[in-house]
Amino acid sequence: MKGKSDRVKRRLLKQAFADNLETIRGLPPRAIRPGPRTFRLWIRRSPLVLLILTLAGTTYLASNPTAAHDTIAPAKIVITRAARPLPGAPATIDPTPVSAAALQLSVHRVIIDAGHGGTDPGTTTLLQLSEKEVTLDIASRLGKILQKNGFEVVSTRKDDRLVPLRERARIANDSDGDIFVSIHVNSIVKHTDSHGIETYFLGATSDPSLNKLAADENRVSGYSVADLRKLLDRLYADARRGESQRLAGAVQQQLVGNLRNFDAGLENWGVKRAPFVVLVATDMPAILAEIGCMSNDNEVAMLRRAEYRQHIAEALFQGIHAYASSADSQQKKGT
């Protein structure tokens, strides 16, 4: 019996020392360490695989002059790519011609997250407009634009139902998405005169107002306190943060730049960091865009118009495209 106890102790000590050595080396805890999925993702993005794909694409293009023509003809932005099968789905060969440029794209599958839903309406107004309706509508419009331009789209919700944040993160991670874009609408009751746009990426903040905003948006998270502690560990040593920040910057720039054409008073509230649960729990670069401010009556009137919501969706697309293009050019440079 004593022998068994000693064996257990030896094993525990070995594990304790291993855990400490991992901490010293800056590795995240085993429970959240990237698993085979991330490994596959890395492999997928490795230069070697890109080289093989490029060669395959070139061979295909050489044998299909029509496809080659397609890649240089359009003046408008058209992004096509080799479709990846969803996890669990049988692999199929995409019959769509594939451009050489598209083969090097790093952003293929976009996860669109329409904020709130079901019994969680988000921000509501006296004019009978709720955040959940606006976000769902814009998400749907954005999805269509992305698909039209060759991206794959996975939506965390397609109708008016409550999806806990934990479930949203699970959908995103299981779908093997490349980027995650969460759409929300702000409400700042103390400043009803002003309205603006802000885009968040993952990070800790000392600003109490941002923490409150994050707390509001995190309300229906489905995570226990212990889970959150574990997730928050990722705030500090997460390599996705730089990519998320670049994505947030690109989206914010396009939103403000494009929407000011329709609303000159729109303020640029910038790119900020905050600990939103969906940003922490997702495995890919992730942002949360507050595409407007429902505490401002003028903006509510604008948001009620389908045309304006379409402009927002288009601006979001432009931001995603700008990020995808810059990610590709960085990849080409080998950075």
């Binding site: 106890s5 257990v8 102790k9 094993r11 525990l12 000590l13 070995k14 594990q15 304790a16 020392f17 855990d19 400490n20 050595l21 901490t23 010293i24 800056g26 995240p28 805890p29 085993r30 429970a31 306190v225 212990a226 502690r229 574990k230 928050l232 560990d233 500090y236 040593a237």
Partner: protein, 340 residues
């Protein structure tokens, strides 16, 4: 040949304990203070005061309680300095001189931290201990307790300290996030609750957090009041007796719901065939173990899942540091060298 000193340290928000392989054991209040001005320096005749000494002279000090929820406070240089002073003081008590290693040429320390401490917190602690010890192993506090008690299989440790309440189910393996929980409802939250309740009932009484902490340590209980709790506090400068029985009960019982909920949740995650063994092997440690009738209250709650047994450590103050020492002594030299 280098003389090795092994130590186990329970770095607590309220109290810190150290157990040395030379047989020395000490506990100090986790307070560090520096004389607030030249007058205080002249009166106190010391550059830094630690523990009870610091609390007693707090009016003359820039007083720091450098640990918050069992972890180093980040962002405050003074608090980092305070925790280094506290650690040096603890090591000095067991025979290692301040700032150096005179009595032993190789100091190997095991420090317990809250179960849910983040890796960054651990790294921060590691950095702050540089130059104070030669090798450092950081483990979760309830794991250290379990190791020290040889309770490594089918056991649940509930370690209720000042800053955190830590839970850990031991399954014969190094506990992972799934096996552990940390609540920030602990001794400090009882103090805050008690202070609020006493101030509400006796608005004219002059009561401080230090006073209620002392009252709690003497009189805490849950369930039926074992006696009438009467304390003394000044009202308009006149020492006055205050009956705080109801307030003490309410403050201490504020711990019950979250602790019971977490205990039952962790139990539910144990493999069904082992649940009964774990239910009958629950160990209560830390200062919370001194709350009268707490084990019985937890056992009452266990009746809804088939019953169980909760035992309280006789020596809850040193159970963590003793466990750390046991770990330190059992660890092979080769492993220590990797961490040095």
């Amino acid at each position: 040949m280098a003389e090795i000193l092994h130590v186990g340290i329970d770095l607590g928000t309220s109290r810190s304990a150290i157990s040395g392989s030379n047989g020395e054991r000490f506990v100090v209040d986790s307070y560090v203070g520096w004389p607030a001005d030249m007058v205080a320096k002249k009166v106190l005749k010391r550059a830094v005061l630690i523990g009870h000494d610091a609390v007693s002279n707090r009016t003359m000090l820039d007083l720091h309680r450098p640990l918050e929820r069992g972890l180093l406070k980040e962002g405050s240089e003074k608090d980092v300095e305070a925790v280094r002073e506290l650690l040096k003081h603890l090591l000095g008590l067991v025979g290692v001189s301040n700032g150096g290693k005179v009595a032993a040429s190789d100091v190997r320390a095991v420090v317990g931290v809250p179960a849910a401490a983040l890796r960054t917190n651990k790294q921060y602690l590691r950095n702050s201990m540089k130059g104070i010890v030669d090798s450092l192993l950081i483990v979760s506090e309830p794991f250290a307790v379990a190791y020290g008690l040889d309770a490594l299989l089918h056991t649940m440790i509930i370690d209720i300290g000042a800053g955190t309440s830590d839970f850990c189910v031991m399954r014969g393996r190094y506990p992972t996030e799934e096996d552990q929980r940390t609540l920030t409802v602990a001794g400090d939250s009882i103090d805050a609750q008690l202070l609020k309740l006493v101030e509400e009932r006796y608005p004219e009484a002059n009561v401080t957090i230090f006073m209620v902490r002392e009252w709690k340590e003497k009189h805490s209980f849950v369930g039926k009041a074992p006696e009438k709790i009467v304390v003394t506090a000044p009202i308009k400068g006149v020492p006055t007796e205050l009956d705080i029985t109801k307030e003490m009960k309410a403050a201490c019982e504020s711990l019950l719901s979250p602790v019971i909920e977490t205990m039952l949740d962790l139990l539910a995650r144990v493999e069904p065939e082992f649940q009964e063994r774990v239910r009958n092997n629950i160990i209560l440690s830390g200062g919370g173990g001194l709350i009268r009738s707490l084990p019985q209250a937890l056992e009452d709650a266990l009746k809804q899942v088939g019953g169980g047994a909760v035992r309280c450590m006789q020596d809850p103050v040193f159970v963590g540091s003793d466990g750390g020492l046991a770990l330190a002594l059992d660890a092979p030299d080769g492993d220590w060298e990797k961490l040095s």
